[in-house]
Symmetry: D2
Subunit: 137 residues, 4 copies
Amino acid sequence: MSLLHEILDVHPQRIQMDKDVVSECISQLCSCRNVCIVCADACLASPDVKDMTRCVRSSLDCGDICGITAEVLLRQIEPNWKLSRKLLEACIATCRICGEECQKHADEHEYCRVCAKACRITEDTTEKLLQEVAAAW
Amino acid sequence: MSLLHEILDVHPQRIQMDKDVVSECISQLCSCRNVCIVCADACLASPDVKDMTRCVRSSLDCGDICGITAEVLLRQIEPNWKLSRKLLEACIATCRICGEECQKHADEHEYCRVCAKACRITEDTTEKLLQEVAAAW
Amino acid sequence: MSLLHEILDVHPQRIQMDKDVVSECISQLCSCRNVCIVCADACLASPDVKDMTRCVRSSLDCGDICGITAEVLLRQIEPNWKLSRKLLEACIATCRICGEECQKHADEHEYCRVCAKACRITEDTTEKLLQEVAAAW
Amino acid sequence: MSLLHEILDVHPQRIQMDKDVVSECISQLCSCRNVCIVCADACLASPDVKDMTRCVRSSLDCGDICGITAEVLLRQIEPNWKLSRKLLEACIATCRICGEECQKHADEHEYCRVCAKACRITEDTTEKLLQEVAAAW
């Protein structure tokens, strides 16, 4: 069991959503944040960087927003579900935009292929959590 | 002129929104981020911290989301307006929630009064930018 | 293989340190960041929050600094080793401080026990990377 | 008086350093963070982006580290001065590196000139705070 699972299990406030769905989403968001940071850096180091500026930008945005969404989801004290929904929607938007941009370069750049994959998985996982939140609140 | 205004003026890509509205919004977001970080810390140091946990949480969320929204708005390369809208909406939500929570404690705690004020100003400025973005795209 | 490993493997710039040591350190930093965010939140939700304010503060600092250290380490373009050293030193300091503070509460609070463990592991892993960096540059 | 000054003035815990020096340093760090984010974006949008990748990288690092240093300095609850020193040292290092890199491009790129200036001011202000901290603890 990861340390994150372990500490969420002993949080004094009962987690108000399916803990597995939340944990899975947080893990994906953190993984996507890291992959996006590396993708921006790899695009910048690529010989055709001139054609990759849009991709760098969308990766920087996606990394930032995934990181903050994870941070807000990690907090269990009286979450505000309206805010959670708005933030998850922003997160889904950034993952879709970055995933589609990276997908365009997936054939030439392996790092864009990996980043597109990370974004797709994170978009799906975040969408699943959004539906849970929307159904419950 | 602030260094931020100075550097936005010489950015190679023309800023695609009213520069004054954007700059004003970014400044407010940064100010609100700082005030929220201090408010969470001040609530934590207050003798009645037990009654302030919800306020700490909403201040931490608001500080995080304002900070990231500023970061995304600072980037001028081919912004995606759908994402900008979603992010501004999340930002408005967090400012409203934090502002309302802090307002409840404004009589007992001066720092909550200041934070409520910062959140209200930031909510208004962000709402104004959102309307510009929504009208244009 | 994790997506992070996968994307680091195809980065156009050869990673200038032992890739396993760097990846391991980044993973630990991200895990520690998450655990610290939850620990601060759990302390805040605990009935004895009044005695936990120092622990909340050190957890917030540790989460922030681990997160940024990971972000800087993820970038492979011409790293500046002097900066890496300074940042790793700050990271080791925050992990030690937070780990020691959490350890004091480990008997009463299981989340502090988990956080103390995360901080110890991260301190060790970061120390190991610092020694690699110091030896090479 | 700025909202930040206002809220620091009413924080329940007396600020343990010269409040003007701390506030000034925090303001500079936030300004430098913003300028660095814009500089990275402007370099990326420049026609000679291929020659600017190192500058983008150092600006991204500098923006991140200034932002987190401000966040830690904003918290007044029992600061750990050893950590403050280490973090200020990392911050001074990143400002120097980014400032020197931007200075190299200051003649061709106005945004690099502005960023070099922001980094120099921030390095000086942070150095001043470090000396205060080192003298007192």
